[in-house]
Structure formats: C-alpha cells, structure tokens
C-alpha cells in the first residue's frame, strides 16, 4: 500500500515531467512522419492521465471519501471521452 511521503511526491512530479516531455516528443515525431491524424486521442488521453494523477495525488482525492474520488474521476473520464469524440466529428 503506498504511503504519503516526500519521496513519493517527487516521483510523481518526475513522472508528470516525463509524460509531458514524452507527449511533446511523440507529437513532433508524428507530425514529421505524417501520422498526426491519429494523435488527438493520444494527446487527450495522456493529458487526462496526468490530470488524474494531479487529482488523486496532489489534490489528494486518493485519501478522500470514495464518493468524491468517484465524482472526480468520472468527470475526468467524461471530459476525455468528450474531447476525443468532438475532435473526431
């Protein structure tokens, strides 16, 4: 079971930085290679995964009542799906 510690907070930060840099690198590569049409769902999904990490571990919904966490994660899933669908159509 994970524990709240400064080390964990730092690892989460490094993960978020890596995901951000990775997103930018993949985006650049996709545009150069011509596969940019497939990129939007990936961009939104990674962004929402990062947002989820911020919700759970920085805003601390992970240690909140389950109803609150469920509400936050449901909103995020709805926004992610909505953006993917709207970008397509």
């Amino acid at each position: 079971m994970p524990e709240r510690s400064s080390r964990r907070i730092t690892w989460i930060w490094l993960l978020l930085l890596a995901a951000t840099c990775g997103t930018w690198a993949v985006t650049s590569a996709a545009y150069w290679s011509g596969y940019h049409q497939l990129l939007a769902p990936l961009l939104f999904s990674i962004a929402c995964v990062k947002a989820r990490i911020i919700l759970l571990d920085f805003i601390e919904l992970r240690t909140s009542p389950r109803w609150l966490r469920l509400t936050g994660e449901s909103w995020l899933a709805f926004v992610c799906l909505g953006m993917i669908v709207m970008e397509r159509f």
Partner: protein, 206 residues
C-alpha cells in the same frame, strides 16, 4: 457516515509516512471543493466549445496553433508542474511539523508561478507584435481568452500561496495555517490541472 473536513493535524506531529487509503476526511474545506468543481465544469465547457468551433474550420485552428511557440508552452507546463510539486512538498512538511521547509517550498512554488507569468507575457507580447490579437480570428480569440482566464487564476493562486507562507510563520503549528494551505494548495493544483489539458488542446493539436 459523518464527513470531516478539518485536517487531522493536531499540535502533535504526524508520522512522516501516512498510508494512502480512502478516509472520511475531505482534502480541503467544502467551500473550496465546490469552487474547484465549478471551475472544472466551466473549463470543461471551454474545452468542448473550442473543439466544437474547431470542427467547423480545422485548418484555421491548425494554422493558428502553428503560430504558437510549442517550446514556450512546454516550458510553462514544466514550470507549473514543478511549482505544484513544491506546494505538495510544503503540505507534507506542514503535516510533519517542518515549518521552515514548508515556508520555503511554498514561496518556491510561488516564485516558479511568477516565472510562468513572465513567460506568458513574453508570449503574448510576441504574438501581439506580429499582429495576432484576440480579434484576428476565432482560434486566437480562444487562445487569448482561455489562457488569459487561466492567467488570472495563476495570479490569484500566487497571492494565496504567499499569504499561506505568511500564516506559516506562526511560532507553532496550528490548524489554521494547515487548513489555509490546503485551500491555497488545492487551488494551485487546480490551476496546474487546467493547464495540463489546455496545453495540448491549444498548442499541440494540429
């Protein structure tokens, strides 16, 4: 089920490592939670509205995004994530009674936020000097409006962080500074969360 919003911190320091399990305690006072929920809903509408309008003329939006500096947007994303890290460390330091570290980390987070604002103004200046304003076309209207509203959040958040750091100067850890920092920190993480979605939506979507 009774829901407690007050932080569990008392005058005795907590153990350094607290297990991350669901509790009955809200992470911050209910008023702030309601504000966060409202802001998230508002920005959700912004995101959907942007994509809806984009679908009518995707080429306009692609051209607009290509005029933006990905490097500056990326730098701002990394800065905001780093400031959130510092603010989260400050919260942890407060809970274990490390007052000075909490003050330093909070002010560090605020300083990094000022760096974000600086880059934002450089970016705005660059765009305006090359003839792109909010009235140029729909893409730039959305760009200036959404990032401008977000920038107002950043400025307010920095104010909250600085005030939170001032409250921490109390000679002993009491509930007040911890609860206030929870408010300031939650707001700051909200600002970070919104930018994490805004950056790919406006800068990278082509």
């Amino acid at each position: 089920m009774s829901i407690q919003w007050e932080n569990a911190m008392t005058t005795t320091p907590q153990s350094k490592n607290k297990a991350l399990t669901a509790t009955t305690q809200l992470p911050v006072e209910p008023g702030m939670l309601i504000f966060i929920a409202g802001d998230l809903l508002l920005f959700s509408v912004f995101f959907f509205n942007f994509l809806y309008n984009r679908s009518a003329d995707p080429e306009l939006y692609r051209r607009g995004a290509s005029e933006l500096s990905e490097a500056l947007g990326l730098a701002n994303t990394l800065l905001l994530l780093s400031s959130s890290w510092l603010v989260a460390l400050a919260m942890h330091a407060l809970r274990i009674g490390e007052q000075r570290r909490a003050i330093g980390a909070t002010l560090g987070g605020a300083f990094v936020g000022v760096m974000f604002i600086t880059i934002k103004f450089i970016e705005y200046g660059s765009k305006i000097s090359t003839g792109f304003t909010a009235s140029t076309n729909d893409f730039f209207m959305f760009y200036f409006m959404f990032t401008g509203i977000h920038l107002i959040h950043v400025i307010a958040g920095i104010g909250l962080l600085i005030y939170s750091a001032m409250m921490m100067r109390s000679p002993e850890i009491i509930k007040g500074p911890i609860n206030f920092h929870a408010v300031a920190a939650s707001f700051w993480h909200l600002v970070d969360l919104l930018w994490v979605i805004l950056f790919p939506l406006i800068y990278l979507l082509r």
